[in-house]
């Protein structure tokens, strides 16, 4: 420390230098000796305003941490700590005034913020005239005298750190505006937070300011977000510098979004010391963002799939989001259309929907959640469904921005007209910065101006385009349509939302969505790049399908497994009884197996009906008889705990519906009711005549006002919450645990009733049971139409020859066995190739029974071959599922019939004998 | 007292940085450099080396292997392993070879402890 004096005596200005010389003159050589010692010294000049410091030595710098240059010219009071005893300070001044020297202990603050007790010895040096010329003060850290014990010192130091933390928080707050701030001391494991932070977290502000355990950082955090936040904080505590997290806090039952941004501060050894940051409430921002995210993101495309006649539409989550509805896999048509502005065409099932082919329309909606008005576009295709009816598959997306850009375009046009008068900087910015392709063409279609986006997106310089005619860049496949629209533009028709592919200069294709507007002598056009969206549309649809398949499979597998267990178990038991010789006993097991098999068959039947691959067999139906016939089955199904009551009007009308479907609907509803009454109860099945008014049918899509047969299924069970009630008709919606039931029941019933041009009502209150009413249209024809298949027993054969073509050996065996037992002769073949030569031969054949789905030649083709040589040969097709077989009128020619697998032997036998009898009668 | 320090690092830049830090702490010390383990061992044949600073990640034998070999031959030689590979395993192996661990990038501050400790040991060994 030899050079410290020189280092410190480096006065900032010449005036001070003069003062020092004067000081030396007054104090003599003692001054330099003192200055060079380890005692901290300041010299002030009371002759100048506010008694400024004119000298400090190196020991002062060491004691306080201030450099000489920083303190020169300042009054010593800047060293005083907050809360310094004002009396002590006043006393010092007074004593100096009177005695010229004084000693006092003052609480001072070092440059680094630490405090110390400073013992000041001040002496006034007087000039020759006796006036105070300099005040010479020595300063000593006497903090030790004040810290009587370690505990006190510790306390002071903690308080001091706390004060520092508060100060830093205050600074952070000032910088950050209306945000809360925290400071997490990693070593001490304490969290200090300001009042705003405490407010956001629901903490006591005083406790927060004084320090809390760090766990307080997570206490208010919404449980679902807590672990993620912990992970992020763990990063920060382990040295990650950047901390930024949005999460939710739950305070007083209210969920709010906050955004926390922080930083970890390291010591010289890279050890994390503190973790501090600011917290802002972003609930409102999140709400807005969430709304906009869906509507504005390039992928904001919702997909849907609708089959005419159905009451529900399969939809994607984004579809729901675009309408402001909760995510669902399926939505009722009326829920969807309710969102659409009543003046616009409904989204689903508008009058135009009967026309096949691509469809496009734009419409306004009021979002179901926020009521916000948006413009949506719907693009889709109506196709003939394989089973008849029309499928409508498509996507919707938000075009509010496009609509707005039309407005912008109009504005732009107006601005351009005024170009000569006003150079509008704003407009140029839109023109230059827009990512959309903007162009101005003459009425001849030739480009007059294009904006820089053409270069950025497609690579064309203005010089490439100016003078050329619009549409030249359009992909050949889209050119025809583009040409028509361009012609329209010339005659003053606007183009909105036209998608076409455009070639970029380097040959890449871009999907561009065009809006163009003729105005005066010019055509103004805006094109937006939607290539990404087009890709997403496909992806979305595919993934949505996969989701549905996954959901369905779980439920079906369960149901089928149960039925298979019944079948396999029943047959196994039956076989054992036979082996034991207890033939009579075996019968009931086979009966059980048969029932399981029939249930499986019924399930596939319903599923096919559900997917519209099996048409309904609507015909006049005696509902009263049907209900009566089901009573026994229902009693068994419901068990002893549930009492079954029926209440059927005596003069019930005849309805029009598919009896199998109604039966399964009633069974389904009964089972649901049973499950809703785990502790027993009463199930009432009623049927009565009603006339439905237009008002009551307001929510129905298909039913017309008039007479109906009402079938009610009422239970005394637990009922449904409004939430469940709103979803019961959704496919796959089920309240049963995963894998227990497909969730298809009610939606299939809904589909069935809709297809039957009927109506469904459901009424329930939680805890007060439920009633579901099916309304089936009244039959207006003659009751005589009700023809049952007349004879009950199949007549035996008389040695007629039947050619059997079936590739499945088990089925073939069964069929041949039955034929032989009935007294027919069977020719067994397993393919069309094997059967064709027999058909072309001279062998006598009275009937051909063939599977439809054969390898190689299919059953229908084989029938053609047969008919070439044997035009009158009766043919019976067997089919498990064949799309073309559904429309029987085109599939079946004269003398052909079809029976669907699985079938009961009895029914099969009856069909065969009936066919042969008819053939015989015709020939006779 | 003049001591001889050997800096072993395949990176010339690293040798320069370490050399500069040593020069700032002990301007009088003689500094030798080696670009790898073999070159370092060769230097030990001809030179009286008082302390060694080794890089860990080097082509051929790595710094810890070299440290272990040197420890076998010179029980009291102050050795430091300097590396940015601050894995707990590496630090533990350096400790096991009775070598100091210095995190890269090497600074004057980071070297100070090792250098002053080594200086003290050399002095007490009577050199």
């Amino acid at each position: 420390m030899t050079d410290t004096v020189d280092a410190a005596i480096r006065p900032e200005n010449a005036g001070a230098a003069v003062d020092l010389d004067a000081l030396r003159a007054l104090a003599g050589p003692l001054f330099d000796a003192l200055a060079g010692s380890g005692v901290a010294i300041t010299v002030t000049d009371p002759r100048q305003h506010d008694d400024p410091i004119v000298f400090v030595n190196a020991a002062f710098e060491a004691l306080t941490g201030y450099e000489a240059a920083e303190v020169m010219g300042r009054n010593c009071r800047f060293l005083q700590a907050e809360g310094v005893d004002p009396q002590a300070v006043a006393g010092l001044a007074g004593t100096l005034e009177n005695a010229g020297s004084a000693t006092v202990d003052l609480l001072n603050v070092r440059r680094d913020g630490t405090r110390f007790w400073n013992r000041l010895n001040v002496t006034t040096l007087k000039d020759a005239a006796g006036r105070p010329a300099f005040r010479f003060a020595t300063q000593t850290d006497v903090s030790a005298d004040y810290g009587d014990e370690d505990l006190g010192r510790e306390l002071r130091s903690t308080r001091q750190r706390l004060a520092e933390a508060k100060e830093r928080l205050r600074v952070a707050q000032t910088v950050a505006g209306a945000e809360g701030a925290w400071e997490w001391n990693i070593a001490q494991g304490r969290l200090v937070a300001d009042a705003r932070f405490a407010g956001l977290y629901g903490l006591d502000p005083i406790a927060a300011a004084n320090g809390l355990p760090t766990s307080a950082f997570f206490d208010a955090v919404f449980a679902a977000d807590r672990l993620r936040l912990k992970i992020a904080v763990a990063g920060a505590l382990n040295g990650a510098e950047v901390f930024a997290r949005d999460y939710r806090v739950l305070v007083d039952g209210e969920l709010r979004w906050v955004s926390a941004k922080g930083r970890t501060y390291l010591d010289a050894q890279d050890r994390p010391v503190r973790f501090a940051g600011v917290l802002a409430d972003i609930t409102e921002q999140k709400r807005v963002e969430e709304r906009l995210r869906i509507a504005q993101s390039a992928g904001g495309v919702g997909s849907f799939e609708y089959l005419s006649g159905f009451g529900t539409v399969e939809v994607s989550d984004t579809f729901c989001g675009l309408l402001g509805l909760q995510p669902a896999t399926s939505l009722p048509v009326r829920t969807i259309n309710a969102v659409v502005d009543p003046e616009d065409q409904p989204l689903i099932g508008g009058r135009e929907s009967e026309r096949l082919g691509p469809a496009f329309h734009e419409f306004r909606i009021q979002r179901a959640d926020t009521g916000e008005a948006r413009w949506l576009a719907c693009r889709g295709e109506h196709q003939a469904a394989p089973s008849g009816g029309v499928s409508f598959i498509g996507v919707i997306y938000d075009v509010t921005a496009t609509k707005r850009s039309e407005d912008r375009l109009r504005d732009l046009a107006a601005a351009l007209e005024a170009r000569v008068e006003v150079s509008n900087q704003e407009r140029d910015r839109v023109w230059n910065l827009s990512r959309d392709l903007l162009s101005i063409s003459g009425r001849d279609g030739a480009y007059r101006a294009v904006n820089p986006a053409w270069t950025a997106l497609l690579g064309y310089e203005p010089v490439d385009l100016i003078g050329s005619v619009m549409g030249g860049l359009v992909h050949p496949d889209d050119r025809e349509m583009a040409g028509e629209l361009a012609a329209g533009l010339r005659t003053g028709e606007a183009v909105t939302d036209f998608d076409c592919r455009v070639l970029s200069k380097d040959g890449e294709l871009h999907w561009i969505n065009w809006t163009a507007l003729p105005d005066g002598d010019f055509i103004y056009a805006v094109g937006r790049d939607i290539t990404q969206r087009k890709l997403l549309e496909d992806q979305l649809r595919q993934s949505q399908k996969m989701e549905a398949v996954g959901q369905l499979t779980g439920g079906l597998a369960h149901d089928f497994n149960n039925m298979l267990t019944g079948m396999l178990g029943g047959m196994d038991m039956g076989r054992r009884r036979i082996a034991e010789g207890r033939i009579a006993d075996a019968e009931r097991f086979f009966e059980a197996a048969t029932q399981s098999g029939q249930r499986a068959a019924a399930l596939t039947h319903r599923l096919l009906a559900f997917s519209r691959r099996q048409s309904l067999d609507s015909r006049p139906l005696d509902v009263a008889a049907l209900v009566a016939s089901m009573e026994d089955l229902l009693r068994r199904t419901l068990g002893e705990q549930v009492r079954l009551e029926t209440d059927v009007d005596a003069d019930l009308w005849t309805a029009v519906a598919d009896d199998n479907q109604l039966e399964s609907a009633i069974l389904n509803l009964a089972i649901n009711a049973r499950d809703a009454m785990p502790h027993g109860g009463r199930l009432t099945i009623s049927a009565r005549n009603v006339a439905l008014s237009a008002a009551r049918l307001a929510k129905s899509d298909r039913a017309e006002p008039g007479d109906y047969v009402e079938i009610g299924v009422a239970d005394t069970g637990m009922g449904m919450s409004p939430d469940v009630l709103s979803k019961v008709f959704d496919p796959f919606f089920t309240t049963k645990p995963l894998g227990q039931g497909t969730g298809l029941g009610l939606s299939m019933i809904y589909g069935f009733v809709q297809q039957s041009r009927g109506h469904v009502e459901i009424e329930s209150q939680e805890g007060a049971g439920a009633v579901i009413r099916l309304f089936l249209p009244r039959h207006r024809g003659e009751v005589a139409d009700l023809v049952e298949e007349t004879d009950d027993r199949a007549e035996g054969g008389a040695g007629e020859t039947v050619l059997v073509v079936e590739d499945d050996p088990a089925v073939r065996l069964l069929v041949v066995q039955v034929l032989q037992e009935l007294g027919y002769r069977a020719i067994e073949t397993e393919s069309g190739r094997e059967a064709a030569p027999i058909l072309q031969s001279a062998r006598a054949i009275d009937l051909m029974i063939t599977d439809v789905g054969l390898p190689g030649l299919n059953g229908r083709q084989l029938a053609e071959i047969a008919r070439e040589s044997r035009p009158d040969l009766p043919i019976l097709f067997m089919t498990g599922y064949a799309e073309q077989a559904v429309d029987q009128s085109t599939f079946l020619a004269q003398g052909m019939e079809i029976i669907t697998k699985p079938f009961a032997i009895d029914r099969f036998a009856k069909r065969i004998s009936a066919i042969l009898r008819r053939a015989e009668a015709e020939q006779a | 007292m003049v001591a001889t320090v050997l800096i072993v690092d395949d990176s010339k830049l690293a040798r320069i940085v370490v050399g500069k830090a040593i020069a700032a702490l002990q301007p009088d010390w003689r500094r030798l450099e080696a670009g790898g383990a073999d070159e370092a061992l060769a230097l030990f044949e001809n030179e009286a080396i008082d302390l060694v600073i080794l890089d860990f990640n080097m082509p051929g034998r790595d710094g810890l292997e070299l440290a272990e070999e040197l420890r076998g031959r010179f029980a009291d030689l102050p050795i430091a392993v300097a590396t940015a590979n601050v894995q707990d395993e590496i630090i533990a192996r350096a400790r096991a070879a009775n070598a100091a661990f210095i995190a890269k990038p090497v600074s004057e501050e980071g070297l100070r402890g090792f250098i002053s400790g080594a200086a003290l040991r050399l002095r007490s060994a009577g050199r």
Binding site: P213, T214, S215, A216, F217, F218, L227, R228, K230, I231, A232, V233, A234, G235, L237, N238, G239, A240, E241, V242, A244, T264, L266, D270, Q539, S543 | D10, S11, K12, L13, A14, I16, V17, K20, N57, M58, P59, T83, A84, N85, V86, Q87, D88, E89, I90, K104, P105, S107
Partner: protein, 212 residues
């Protein structure tokens, strides 16, 4: 829907992002000491992409020639770490790390050597810190300086040249007061990703217990 949700759950992504954050912060601190300037970091990005996708990610941001220091790592999980910056920044970085110690001529001669050592220190700090957090050791190869475009930097090894997906972590940094910016990137193939997942699960478990 996206490929990454197939491979990493949200929590796992979070945890991995944090691990990278910790490692890269340490790396930035090393770089800071080497150049004597503030080093600014972005929020790390963790994505599962194809190798071409990784190259595209960088190419979309940097269209000039790139320099990279590459270090392969091996252990319970393996992959490649890269310190990448535009070729145009290379000499500026060399000057920054050598400080006043070298003349311009010397610095030019030492360019690759200085880059390798810088990469060595930065990448080692990052990887070692991550290994410590996961409590599993990693072996690091010697640093190697590469020049070229994104695609050549992102090929892992020959047997993986199948165009499959990789876990791609990257973070971009900038050195204050100097016009130097770059990326720290990490690539891991799928088998490594599986191993990493289980380590991350352990990490999450530790974190769920011990913070607050």
């Amino acid at each position: 829907m996206s490929i990454q949700t197939i491979f990493l759950e949200e929590l796992e992504r979070d945890a991995l992002t944090e691990l990278v954050n910790i490692g890269v912060s340490r790396a930035a601190s090393s770089l800071r000491k080497m150049v004597g300037e503030q080093v600014l970091l972005s929020v790390p990005s963790v994505e599962v992409v194809t190798r071409q996708g990784a190259a595209t990610l960088i190419r979309e941001r940097e269209n000039g020639e790139l320099v990279a220091v590459r270090q392969d790592f091996e252990g319970v999980f393996s992959g490649r770490a890269l310190l990448i910056f535009p070729q145009a920044n290379s000499m500026a970085l060399v000057h920054a790390v050598t400080g006043g110690a070298l003349s311009h001529g010397e610095a030019v001669d030492m360019e690759d050597e200085a880059l390798a050592e810088t990469g060595n220190v930065v990448l080692n700090s990052c990887l070692a810190t991550m290994a410590n957090m996961l409590q599993k050791p990693l072996q690091m190869s010697l640093p190697e300086v590469l020049r070229g475009d994104g695609a050549s930097l992102f090929t892992l090894t020959d047997q993986h040249a199948d165009g499959g997906v990789v876990l791609f972590l990257y973070i971009n940094f900038a050195i204050n007061d100097r016009d130097i910016r770059g990326y720290i990137a990490m690539l891991m193939d799928l088998p490594s990703l599986q191993a990493l997942r289980s380590l991350i699960a352990d990490f999450i478990e530790r974190v769920a217990g011990d913070v607050g």
